[in-house]
């Protein structure tokens, strides 16, 4: 593979919370936060700022990230992090722009008993936004529908990509074996990047299982007519359906 340099493109400006944001913490009597960020933004300033106000700041590491506090879009499962700081904090604070990463923090709360919204602080626009479960309602409805249809499907297509970090062929083979023991037929499809318009070339497939980016099975499904679930959910779809009750 060709040598690769990653340039994180760090934000050089200020990240501090403004008075309006601090007021939100005071009014909601938040005493502890689980703090996350995208790689562009440092959490140091905000951590100090909150600690001065007596708010406990909990920081963990996601299993796939290189830096503390950093979150990736694929950290969308309850076991994506080394420590359970979301459960152990009053609130979740995300530093960054865009919705892709904070939505992962909502999705990661399946299986949780006490759902928490995500407070987003965007240091570029200096704006505070609250992301609650309404933001993923359409995705969750579609995900439940897909899990139910998958349970009844008899011909399954399992998608595997060649991208580093994905390449889940051995898991796909395990799933194929499991499904075929249950009397279903499974086919494994390989590609570099999935272009879902090609689904229509395989009309004999009843349901698709995605082993590439997990956000395909949580977000992109809203725009797909075909049934698709993530491979992590395909081994025990009933348990997965139960875990979505929190939403």
């Amino acid at each position: 593979m060709v040598e690769t340099i990653y340039v994180p493109v760090f934000w050089g400006g200020e990240t501090l919370l403004d008075e309006k944001a601090l007021k939100y913490f005071r009014e909601n009597k938040i005493k502890s936060v689980a703090l996350f960020r995208s790689i562009q933004f440092s959490f140091k300033e905000i951590k100090e700022q909150l600690e001065k106000l007596g708010i406990k700041v909990n920081i963990t590491k996601a299993k796939r990230t290189s830096e503390k506090g950093q979150i990736l879009g694929c950290d969308a499962y309850h076991d994506s992090f080394f420590e359970t700081i979301i459960e152990d904090s009053d609130a979740i604070l995300y530093i960054g722009d865009g919705m892709f990463h904070p939505k992962a923090l909502l999705l990661s709360q399946s299986n949780s008993k006490n759902f928490k919204e995500v407070i987003i602080w965007d240091p570029i626009s200096k704006s505070l936004e609250i992301l609650d479960k309404k933001a993923i309602k359409a995705q969750i409805i579609r995900r439940k529908r897909n899990l139910r249809l998958f349970l009844n499907a008899s011909k399954i297509g399992i998608l595997v990509t060649l991208k580093p970090g994905q390449q889940h062929l051995s898991i796909a083979l395990n799933l194929k074996q499991k499904l075929e023991k249950e009397g279903k037929k499974a086919y494994i499809f390989l590609d570099n990047t999935f272009d879902f318009s090609h689904f229509e070339n395989y009309p004999f497939i009843d349901a698709w299982v995605n082993s590439a980016c997990p956000r395909i099975g949580t977000d992109d499904i809203v725009n797909l007519n075909q049934t698709l679930i993530n491979i992590k959910e395909a081994f025990d779809p009933i348990k997965e359906l139960d875990s979505l009750d929190i939403f």
């Binding site: 060709v2 690769t4 796939r64 990230t65």
Partner: protein, 87 residues
């Protein structure tokens, strides 16, 4: 106020003696490719190509580019990731 670390890249490219480089940027940074190509080409003499489409994350790197004799890939906007153990 985003730091593209072009000084660092120029030094690395010279050190590695890279001749043909592919840069890859997330959508929000794609319009910076004009400036990046100009600076890297002027400062290093390397050929700099731009990946046209996706750059979803650190795992989303173009495959097979060695066939075009590309000797360095520079992906902006992401950091190195750790592969999750197979479960």
């Amino acid at each position: 106020m985003y730091n593209l670390e072009l000084d660092f890249l120029v030094k690395e490219i010279k050190k590695k003696k890279s001749k043909r480089i592919l840069i890859q940027l997330p959508d929000g940074l794609k319009n910076r490719s004009e400036k990046i190509v100009q600076i890297l080409e002027e400062e290093t003499g390397a050929e700099v190509l731009i990946w046209f489409t996706s750059c979803f994350g650190a795992c989303d790197i173009p495959l097979g580019i060695e066939l075009l004799k590309i000797d360095l890939l520079v992906q902006f906007g992401h950091s190195i990731f750790l592969k999750e153990k197979e479960w």
